[in-house]
Amino acid sequence: MNFINSFLVAGLFCLLAEVIREYTRLTPGHMTSLFTIIGSFLSFIGIYPILLDFGRGGSSILICNFGASLYKGAIEGYYNYGFIGLFQEMLSYSGVALTSAIVISFLCALFFKPKN
């Protein structure tokens, strides 16, 4: 059941992105930024935690989850440390994606040559 839910959540977000892209001619850069902000907005109105329960794998792999985890870190930082916690803890949950992308892309650039 979890697999079907994951398929639906991830597929529907990608479908929505493709529909917006086809009708507005925005580039992939615009779309990923837009969906990151949509992710923070959805966790602001309380929908994204429900999506994470519903389709765990599917919703945790979307770029929306990056925005949602930024929001989650900032809010928890505010409750634990006050105002400065917003800045201090914002990257605490999304640091995995950021750090691993930086390290792995650097290693790939070291060991591989660009094609063409």
């Binding site: 979890n2 529907l12 977000f13 529909v19 086809e22 779309m31 765990r56 945790s60 792999i61 792995i104």
Partner: protein
Amino acid sequence: MGDYMNIDEYAKLVKEYTPKENRAKHFFWAFFIGGLVGVFAEFLIHCFVNCFGMSVTDAGSYTCLSVIFLASLFTSLGFFDDWVSFAKAGLFIPTTGFAHAMTSAALDYKHDGFISGLGSCIFRLAGSVILYGVLGALFFSVLGVLIYG
């Protein structure tokens, strides 16, 4: 006067040579491939929880790392670009798109040197996600603190 076409013929010719875009097909493949990436992530989480006995939170982090690793590796090997241009939103809305943007920028600017090439251009494509993600999350978290207390 020369042998010009009239406007109707020209319009017909333009219509004939404009590539036809099959939107329904694009929508289907974006939905299907995006869904498959989600199923793959769910499968990895199951593996990490059941085979290695991790907590669900740790398994989610390891899944994120594995998917980013695979996307970067496939980009470096050269065939991920074709996949992205085929599946479009199906592969750039999942985290694979973020990894793909960073790795392809890193590979492209590598020949300009490590500081002025790789270091300064690695975020050329993926930097907008970080910039607007942080600004948006800051905006919504301040709003959330003000509204929810």
